[in-house]
């Protein structure tokens, strides 16, 4: 069975799972469905010959699942039923997205067909990578030697995101008791 058929099968499962994740009421079911999507991505990376990415994506799934379950489970809150206007707006959004899909089919015809990449700069990396850097893993040689600036930027973004999370969670917020007073004051 060629790779393409496997990928089509996995992608259809992923689309169904993502729609299920968005439409289900229960929070835990949504998070599990998102896990199915992520594991599908990890499996596709294996079929597309990217083992580095498959490992990282799999670990990402585990970590994201722990964070989401720990943060969102056991929280009760009042959900307002979507009104009629909301339903109409959702319908309009679906129609617009379908139109975008139909118009973008011709864009995808311009791209190089599946299985035949351009390979311009990459051919140099493949040919000279071992000689220039001495690393057997060519992906590693790109992220840490040829394009180490990229990794430096990545480290900066991660550092900032972590600092942001720390700062946000350290602020003391007013509880609900204060909130009612606040709304009185606002009037």
């Amino acid at each position: 069975m060629p790779v393409e058929y496997w990928l089509i099968f996995i992608l259809i499962v992923m689309i169904i799972a993502s729609i299920a994740a968005l439409e289900m009421e229960d929070v835990l079911s949504s998070i599990v469905a998102i896990g199915v999507v992520g594991l599908g991505v990890s499996l596709s990376f294996l079929f597309l010959q990217a083992p580095d990415l498959a490992i990282v994506q799999f670990l990402f799934e585990i970590f994201a699942l722990i964070i989401l379950v720990k943060a969102f489970m056991g929280k009760e809150y009042h959900k307002e039923e979507p009104s009629r206007i909301n339903k109409i707006l959702a319908g309009i959004t679906v129609i617009t997205l379908a139109a975008i899909f139909i118009f973008s089919v011709s864009v995808f015809e311009l791209l190089p067909p599946f299985g035949e990449p351009l390979m311009t700069t990459s051919q140099y990396y493949l040919d000279k990578g071992a000689q220039d850097t001495g690393a057997a893993n060519l992906v590693s040689s790109i992220i840490l030697d040829y394009r180490a600036y990229d990794t430096l930027g990545e480290i900066t973004v991660l550092f900032t995101a972590i600092l942001g999370a720390f700062t946000i969670l350290r602020i003391k917020t007013k509880s609900k008791k204060d909130k009612t007073e606040f709304s009185h004051a606002a009037k």
């Binding site: 490992i55 690393a135 893993n137 590693s140 030697d145 480290i155 550092f159 972590i162």
Partner: protein
């Protein structure tokens, strides 16, 4: 309050053994990043998950006694600085920012590929520490009603 003190005795006993294996696997993945699939990112996430395993099994208070959280903060910031230091050493020795100034060595040897191995170790520490700290902070925020 009882639930915050971690899980049952079985989970704690298994964790006591498994966490060292997970840590060892993460270190292996980091050190072989230039030879086989993996590298600093994957190994760092594995190390973060090992610490997270302890936090889920034993509770948050035990983890803050076992690990020095302030020291982890320092390690995280220091690794970001070390990356820059290696980049600037590249200017003075190799002639360009982040140049590969250490000798390359043999192709399939463990100690080869110049600066790729130290940079992999630095990224592993950085990613592992920062992700664990984020999970630690998120678990610490008291949001569930009644706790």
């Amino acid at each position: 309050m009882r639930q915050n003190d971690g899980m049952t005795l079985i989970v704690k006993t298994v964790t006591r053994i498994s966490v060292w294996m997970i840590l060892l696997y993460g270190i292996y993945i980091i050190f072989h990043g230039h030879l086989s699939p993996g590298g600093g990112f994957a190994g760092g996430v594995i190390i973060a998950l090992a610490f997270l395993n302890v936090m889920l099994a034993y509770g948050r208070k035990f983890t803050s006694d076992w690990l020095n959280i302030g020291f982890l903060h320092d390690l995280e910031s220091a690794s970001a600085t070390l990356f820059l230091v290696i980049g600037i050493l590249g200017i003075s020795i190799g002639g360009a920012f982040l140049a590969n100034f250490i000798t390359k060595g043999e192709l399939f040897a463990l100690l080869s590929a110049g600066t790729i191995l130290p940079l992999n170790i630095i990224i592993g520490i950085k990613v592992g520490m920062s992700l664990f700290l984020v999970a630690w902070v998120l678990a610490g925020s008291k949001t569930v009603k009644g706790e």
